[in-house]
Amino acid sequence: MKKNEPNWLMVLRTVMPLGLSYIPIGLACGVLLHAAGFNHLLTGLISVMVFSGGAQFLIASMLTINAPMTTIILMMFFLELRYALLGSSLSRYLKGQPLPFILGFAFSMNDENYAVNYLKFATDKHWKPKQALLVEHYSLLFWTVSNIIGSLIGSALTIDLKVVDFALTALFIYMAIMQTKSRLIILVATLSGVLTIFFLVLMKSTLGLVVATLIASLCGYFIERHLVEHKPESHLLYKIHDPTRPLDDK
């Protein structure tokens, strides 16, 4: 870690991998919104106001099939419900912040910058709420500019969505691996994966994500509580070795 690096640069370096993966996805999203009839200004507005890749892709595809506005808004509501979980799990790091800060923070929070911030808060005790907010604003900037450029180039660009979308998948895989600190976490993640398939197919809505996450995390909590109280030597509580650190490091 460089000592004299200014704060804005340090935060920018933290957010860079996310910012770069936002470029192709934002371009694709802008192209789709343009095709769905959004003008450049509205594309910029939705990128700032909604700021969610999944939501914007959904809106674009719903508009192209001429879905009524109420249907789109209702689907958005279920799609965005998972943010309640993100906010709850970050809240302990943002305690005592004034209302305007919480307002601003909530406004620009999404899956990806939440992932970056959660990891920083969990691993770096010097990580400040202000820096977390800056992470959100940098990612918002990358996202909005990419969306507007996508909207401007419009049809001149052909994008394979499956490939572009994988940038975020890779980001989430990385985040999940970083969170895997004990064997119990592997069990919880596996359970979450199985439940996700089950509930998504059953509910035919992204609400399945919320249900799977809730059940898997609650199972993790109860298993851990049970083990710590009754079987502290359980193999499930074993730590996972970090290959970038020497073995005796705690």
Partner: protein, 116 residues
């Protein structure tokens, strides 16, 4: 691409506003509630399992579930292999940049070149 939507720009504007409100409510109120009150210890312990469950759920959704909420039975082999590769790279290197770049290159090769 031709514009296919029948909505006007004004309707689009209201759509954006309503979507923004709907997106803001679940982001704001839980965060406000839990930053203003004392958080019980059990809640914090539970919340520690939320990120990994959520990230896994998002990954599983994009690799195994298609846009109509059916299990993908073909066309996702390249993504499965790439996902395993990314997991390995992330575990060994702990580098976000490397994980994303290798994942993208890998999925490009599999999907665009080999069509799997």
């Amino acid at each position: 691409m031709q514009s296919v939507s029948s909505m006007s720009s004004i309707e689009h504007f209201w759509l954006v506003i309503f979507c923004a409100i709907v997106a803001f409510i679940p982001r704001f109120f839980p965060l406000l509630f839990f930053t203003k009150r004392a958080i019980p210890e059990w809640f914090n312990e539970w919340m520690r399992f939320v990120p990994v469950s959520l990230f896994t759920a998002l990954v599983v959704k994009s690799v195994f579930i298609d846009s109509k909420y059916h299990i993908m039975t073909s066309g996702n082999l390249g993504m499965i292999i790439s996902a395993i590769l990314v997991g390995f790279v992330a575990y060994r290197t702990r580098s976000m940049t490397l994980s994303v770049v290798i994942g993208l290159v890998s999925v490009m090769i599999f999907v665009l070149l080999f069509h799997i």
